[in-house]
């Protein structure tokens, strides 16, 4: 279950970050921040080939005893990081992929909104709802 979902901009600042439960937010913020290094590492490793060939889904970035961190990067270098609870072993890779796909779709919807300036924090309610659904259902 996703306990934290973050959208990181190309310049590595967060566009959207949300976690539950709320009291562990700081910890998740830190986790996401550290995971960015892993993301960059994977991207650069894979990036030798054409960007097009690079797969968007990065997979498990690194596991800790409590949770696992998954990453996904778009072609515009916007990163999605998801922290899931390790206790939920039922989560398969496919499910994570589908969650990232949904995230990506919602993100593009947000982008399509002319009132959204790229680089702003994401306040879209639709996006919030989608993230909530992912966090809730996973939990």
């Amino acid at each position: 279950m996703a306990v934290c979902i973050a959208v990181i901009a190309k310049e590595n600042y967060p566009l959207y970050i949300r976690s539950i439960p709320a009291e562990q937010e700081l910890k998740f913020h830190y986790t996401v921040h550290t995971s960015l290094d892993v993301v960059d590492e994977k991207v650069s490793a894979m990036g030798k080939a054409l960007v097009d060939q690079r797969e968007l889904y990065l997979g498990l970035l690194y596991p800790t005893e409590d949770y696992k961190v998954y990453g996904y990067v778009t072609n515009s270098k916007v990163k999605f990081v998801m922290v899931v609870d390790s206790s939920n072993t039922a989560l398969r890779d496919n499910e994570i992929r589908s969650m990232f796909r949904k995230l990506h779709n919602s993100y593009t919807d947000v982008m399509c909104n002319p009132f959204y300036n790229p680089g702003d924090r994401i306040h879209s309610r639709a996006f919030d709802n989608m993230v909530t659904s992912m966090m809730v259902q996973v939990c």
Partner: protein
Amino acid sequence: MEGLTLSDAEQKYYSDLFSYCDIESTKKVASNGRVVELFRAAQLPNEVVLQIMELCGATRLGYFGRSQFYIALKLVAVAQSGLPLRVESINTVKDLPLPRFGASKNEQESRHTTSYSSDTENQGSYSGVIPPPPGRVQVKKGSVSHDAVQPRTSTDQQESTSPVVSPQQSPPTSPHTWRKHNRHPSGGNNERSLAGPGPFWSPFSEAQTGSSAGDAVWSGHSPPPPQENWVSFADTPPTSTLLAMHPASVQDQTTVRTVASATTANEIRRQSSSYDDPWKITDEQRQYYVNQFKTIQPDLNGFIPGSAAKEFFTKSKLPILELSHIWELSDFDKDGALTLDEFCAAFHLVVARKNGYDLPEKLPESLMPKLIDLEDSADVGDQSGEVGYSGSPAEAPPSKSPSMPSLNQTWPELNQSSEQWETFSERSSSSQTLTQFDSNIAPADPDTAIVHPVPIRMTPSKIHMQEMELKRTGSDHTNPTSPLLVKPSDLSEENKINSSVKFVSGNTVADGYSSSDSFTSDPEQIGNAVTRQRSHSGTSPDNTAPPPPPPRPHPSHSRSSSLDMNRTFPVTTGQQQAGVVAHPPAVPPRPQPSQVPGPHVHRPVDAEGLITHTSTSPQQIPEQPNFADFSQFEVFAASNVNEEPDDEAEKHPEVLQGKSTTPLAPPPKPIRRRLKSEDELRPEVDEHSQKTGVLAAVLSSQPSIPRSVGKDKKAIQASIRRNKETNTVLARLNSELQQQLKDVLEERISLEVQLEQLRPFSHL
């Protein structure tokens, strides 16, 4: 309370009112503001209202239950008709017009003018009326407010003229209402001010006093606002024009000009609002929107790009966040551009927001871009309303005035269709299309349901029937066991399902086919077979691996497609079944798998039931068993193999021949061949047996193609389908078996090497 019989229209009307008043959804309506409002809007004298309340039992109970509420409404209608209030009059008075609630729900008035035919007329009448205090005044107030009388009368007139104007429950749609909302005059009653959907809430007693005050305040406020709010865009047409567009605004204008116009507007609003969805776009508004659209994009069928829309809506001076949300709501297809419908919806939402309405969480139905271009009026019906109402779309329609029964009727359709339409979040106005779709879907299902009893037997030939008989006799015991498929797990599942499906169909076909003899004898078998098949599809290992060969037990119909099998098998009791199944087409009833290897083994095991012939049980394992049951092969060792072929060969020598030769051969090969090959392989390997088992299952599931030719096209098609399925299964089986073969060969080689090592000098 005495029983209350309501007509349909009344029922709808009342339930809508009830839901409107039942703000807490507790099914009990306390004497809260809404109820008070409602009754006040009925424009009945206070005493009358009190009497009504007593009669309906509310005073006794302390609250309005649903029945009390309905009774009260009925009494209101009675009172409004001028009849004396009696308890008996509830049911005795026939053809009572629906109770009219005029002033209370102002909000939607102007907005919903379109929905009510009389609205415009009312409005017209109002414009002439000088500022009567908000219609609210109602009878109660009597002369409380200075203009109360006038408005009252005018209101009454309006009331009378307007068709049953349902209490304006929905949030005001007109800007006028909005204005009120913004203005929010002195606390209390600003009934008019819209606090969201409801009309004011002042308690009954206060209402009177409050209203007067409110009216006064109201009057004071009457000016500007709506128009101002209405047109907030700097570059939009001047207020006046805007107002002109908007029906309510028109009213407003006149009223504004005249003091206390607000009241007029209210009244007008009242008239028009009634059940309307607050989000409905009136014609004038729509026209205005369209004109605006044209200024940006002359082609009405074209799109407004996001950037242009952004500029346009930014002029409304709403916060970007809200504009962003409005965009999300209105850009239905998420393409970054606005079509005319989307633009109208967005514009409407902006206007609403400017007038103080909160943005809904999801797009109200009336604003949804029409997927199919229905008339705008269609929108009227579907309103999910604002957030407050979004939860009860069903209520909205009923609340519509009886004059819009059609809209209500569309609801059920919409509901159904919307549920089935996952793509559309809301019930779109294109209910008709949706429903059509639904109906289309339904019939399609049966067709796609492959297994459905394919009545047509694939194998019509008599031979089949005979075989089936034989099979049936033999299949009984084999069926139950049908361990054939123990091994092939992966393929088997699928195949089983296929085969089971086929079996089912086969069975039915068989039934039809072999009406006469074969089936009659073994109804149970058939049943068994069918059931077995079913079980197969899930799990049962019997019937050979993948597609469980048609229930061998019923030679006759076990397999839809594999009638052949039946035919072939009955003779050879089972063994053939595998074989029969195995090869799709052509070979007519595979002669009992005489060649089926692993004769003994198979037979008993011939779970598929293809073989069912107890007589030759071991041998019976028809081809199919081969598929499924290579295990059987092993179990019984090779000894049986030899026997079997002999026995069966007679029956269908050619068939078996074919099979044995190519155990791993392409699936479609006659099962016979397979059987043979199976025999050969049997001794060797488990895996092979598994494969063959699978193969057998697959084959068994094959309908006897040759036979099908004779049947209808449907049968042919079904058989083709089956064959294709079998083909794929068999192909897979083939590959698996080949893999197994390789493995086995490797083992063999390793064993040989070991042998040599162990006997280093033996060969010297």
